[in-house]
Amino acid sequence: MKMIIYKKDDGGVAIVIPTNEGLEKLGGIDNLAKRDVPTGKKYKIVDESEILSDRTFRNAWEIDESELTDGVGD
């Protein structure tokens, strides 16, 4: 399963998890990302396996903005 990550205003990382309904009705993950990622935020589409399952320090996760190369939220 594909997920979408972007950098929040506070520097942390947000993860968008699509539903099948969303993917179907919005026409795929690219369209969903553009709609559900905040306006102007760069994002990256990643595989679920790339997301850490250990959330002990979830609020300390960071991402370098240079890695968010798949698009920008509308």
Partner: protein
């Protein structure tokens, strides 16, 4: 469309019709029977009288976040520990909707609360607390509104 008996529609004989790919328009009309007398009603009137949940979602943020079931939820956004935004597939008519939530206790019931914020026509945000701290858990939400 053919009628098998006076005033009654033979559903097996409905042919050549186009199946709707989405909800009917507000001005589309439905036929109903009033003691055998056919009457028509705008679809919008049925929406006014029959209220359905505008959205529901069951998800968890223990380990990798996962959505276990939903309706009118295009996605959820994991904002951090115990902090989730539900993004509607179809926007609601206004922000005066009601959200019922429940969360499965992870450690104990002290200081347990569901804090609903950022209610917008396209999404709402839920932060779950136990002992005064945001906590990852399993959640359910139901939305009623316009």
């Amino acid at each position: 469309m053919a009628l098998s008996k006076a005033g009654l529609v033979d559903v097996t004989a409905i042919t050549g019709e186009t199946a709707l790919a989405s909800a009917p328009a507000a001005t589309d009309e439905l036929l109903i029977s009033d003691a055998g007398t056919l009457k028509r009603i705008d679809f919008s009137l049925t929406e006014d009288t029959v209220r359905h949940a505008k959205c529901w979602c069951k998800w968890e943020s223990i380990g990798t976040p996962a959505i276990e079931g939903s309706f009118n939820a295009a996605s959820i956004t994991d904002n951090g520990t115990g902090d989730t935004t539900i993004n509607f597939t179809t926007n609601l008519g206004d922000t005066h909707y009601a959200v019922a939530t429940s969360s499965v206790t992870q450690s104990n019931n002290n200081g347990k609360s569901d804090n609903l914020t950022d209610t917008a026509v396209d999404s709402f945000r839920l932060v779950y607390f136990e002992n005064g701290s945001a906590t990852d858990a399993r959640y359910r939400a139901i939305v009623f509104g316009n």
